[in-house]
Amino acid sequence: MAKKTWIVTISIALVLSIGIFYLLKTGKKTGEDAGIASMLLPPDNLPMVSTIATPVGAKFTDTAVEVSAEDRKKFGILMEILLSRSDNDPRLDRELKELPAGSKELFFNHYRFLARERLNERGTVVFLIGRNLTRQKDFDFLCSVLDEPPCLSLSDCQKAETSKQDYERDSGEEVTLAYPQLVALNAATAYLERIRLSHNRREMEFFDSVLQVIKCGMRSKVATISQKAELVSRGVTR
């Protein structure tokens, strides 16, 4: 009997050790809230958290919105996904498909603290909120993203790259540099398209709000965004 207990104990220890080793090896880490997440090392040497105060999202922090345990759980899932750098995590379309107001508060807040160079992470937050446009402040958030100044290079949004142009290998770079804005504009465009197709009364309530988002896109300093927004606005009729 004692022998069996030993075998079971050693087996559990072994499985746990392999599991911990595997988690460390793949860099998958979990965090329950922003505090934990910001302490975790990012998977590369770009800062995960903005080193300078950024006004983007500041006005979206709303202490009146209650944050539930479920909201914290959703936020923890978002942290896991961002740290894993896996964009095909099915939880994006399952657990994070619908976001209550409390979850969005946590997500807004996280966007504010992400360094500007974390373009995919920022775009992911915009994408998730862009699928859940249910309040005026959600539209205001999209507008604030579109109002951001252009990110000038992948390693430092404040400075244009000084190395010589590499035309082949920077292909796709422009998309990444404007990624959060492209996602924001796409969310607004998709919202307009849904209104056009369904004339859903609830969505119609925010018709002017979504038009305002398109206008924010039109005044973007990023040429590709303002051009796309201009095209969208031409197709809009009341």
């Binding site: 499985v15 095909n88 160079e117 290998r169 920077d170 292909s171």
Partner: protein
């Protein structure tokens, strides 16, 4: 005390399976994080599936399946090493003069915050440059002036540099730009187990790559293949 070695071996093999699936040799100086990231990206593409594929996709890759993508990549890229690729902004390159079956990655592969589909686009683009039997699919020179459909000059909106006269275009749907855009647009349209984000990203980057195709015949064939199905 007798530990069941078969069970332990089984657990270890299960853990190693995703990595063993790709027979790629890494140089010893490839950082662990870079290696793990590339493997995770290749694993992602190796398990996607779709029930349809465009005609050009069938010509280049075959059916829409993760295994097809995996085989496509691993039959071309046998070795991976680290290199600056001659530019501070580069992410990956192939230098046929050194080794036509080797892909070089730069530290930017994990440093820059590209969406996952963009990292895949870059390595699949480079994998096309390993094909010695196809002249490594070297690029065509972009026309001068290089204008878009609305008559605006196509240039970097960030640096203002013009692409006119630069070797940054393709004349065929089968080159590096064409094949990667066809892969991405098929993922956008037909992938059945991709997240909405992956499909959205595939559309963004696929459309961007399309700008680099300059031959009118090639443009028409891609349009017929992928832009009129919706």
């Amino acid at each position: 005390m007798k530990i069941n070695h078969k069970i332990i071996l089984g657990i270890l093999l299960l853990l190693a399976a995703p990595f063993a699936a790709h027979a790629i040799t890494f140089d010893t100086d490839v950082p662990k994080e870079t290696k793990v990231q590339l493997m995770q990206d290749l694993d992602f593409v190796s398990y996607i599936f779709g029930n349809e594929a465009s005609a050009l996709h069938k010509q280049i890759f075959g059916d829409f399946s993760g295994k097809v993508y995996s085989d496509f990549f691993t039959s071309r890229v046998l070795r991976v090493g680290m290199n600056s690729c001659g530019n501070g902004k580069a992410v990956a390159c192939v230098i046929p003069f050194f080794d036509s079956s080797k892909m070089w990655l730069t530290q930017n592969y994990i440093k820059f915050s590209h969406p996952q589909i963009a990292r895949l686009m870059i390595v699949f683009h480079e994998s096309r440059h390993t094909e010695s039997m196809n002249g490594f699919y070297t690029h065509a020179t972009c026309p001068d002036p290089f204008l878009d459909a609305d008559g605006n000059e196509i240039k970097s909106i960030w640096t203002g540099s013009s692409l006119s006269g630069e070797p940054a275009c393709d004349n065929t749907p089968f080159g590096s730009y064409g094949s990667s855009l066809i892969m991405l647009k098929n993922i956008q349209k037909f992938c059945q187990n991709c997240t909405e984000k992956v499909k959205l990203d595939a559309g963004f980057y696929g459309d961007d790559q399309f700008k680099r195709i300059i031959n009118p015949g090639a443009v028409d064939s891609i349009k017929k293949d992928l832009y009129s199905l919706r």
